[in-house]
Assembly symmetry: C2
Homo-oligomer: 154 residues x 2
């Protein structure tokens, strides 16, 4: 939990920017770079976006942070790196929940046929509808789908 020591141990300098990003992500998991920036600026108003990206990239590469990218959104970050957990994204509201993996320890880490690849990480993103959105949808049940929506309007 002592981020200063962990940074030091990795040979990194202990800067206010890094500490602030780490503390923010500890309190606000699943944050995008933008969210991290605006959150950290409460305490460090002069923080630049570039620094946020630098910190997120460096700490992710060194294993102090974990990053994942839900479909159709910016990359998100969290401090939980050592347990192997996955994520569920609500297709309707975008809410994200942590999901412990169903199958023991290294669950999806053993694909049946991996074409000779040496698998090291399994990132699982579940997509579904959260309870809140499901209830909201039922309330609006009356408004049935007229025609399926396409990309091109007009």
């Amino acid at each position: 939990m002592d981020y200063s020591k962990r940074l030091h141990g990795l040979g990194l300098r202990v800067t206010r920017q890094r500490l602030a990003v780490l503390r923010f992500l500890e309190a606000n998991p699943h944050s995008s770079a933008e969210v991290v920036a605006s959150g950290v600026r409460d305490e460090l108003p002069e923080l630049s976006m570039q620094s946020v990206y630098n910190v997120l990239n460096d700490l992710t590469a060194l294993g102090m942070l974990r990053r994942f990218t839900p479909p159709g959104s910016a990359a998100l970050h969290e401090t939980r790196v050592d347990d192997n957990h996955h994520h569920a994204v609500c297709m309707s509201c975008g809410r994200i929940e942590d999901v412990e993996c169903a199958v023991g320890h290294a669950p999806c880490l053993s694909p049946s046929e991996s074409h000779g690849m040496d698998i090291q990480v399994a990132d699982v993103v579940y997509q579904g509808v959260c309870a809140t959105c499901r209830e909201a949808a039922q309330a609006t049940e009356a408004v049935a789908t007229g025609a399926p929506a396409h990309g091109s309007s007009a």
Copy 2:
């Protein structure tokens, strides 16, 4: 396999652009929008990027295509939509392989604790090192890592 009929059956017009994109993706799975565009332009030189995006979005939404986004790259597309398979990405060269899921049919579809979410899709991205890159790395074993690489240069 008859894309014309399937498009028609979905209430969509059968256009050369859609057919060409579908055929290209059938022959070249895991293609980005850019790759699709440049590939299809061999036969349809005037194809616009916007059309590629339109086709990919529409057909993905209607379930004729599947899309996934490996970390740090553009979205990729494929025509295999009905079997539930996953993907392995080589962290070194970016190569992508299909991976049948290890656990029976709906493998990762049963997270132990889903916070009330109604899970519908599980997207699994394995990250590892492919055989080719592993061998190449061993050959270059001599060049050991001096200091861990950071994001900011100097």
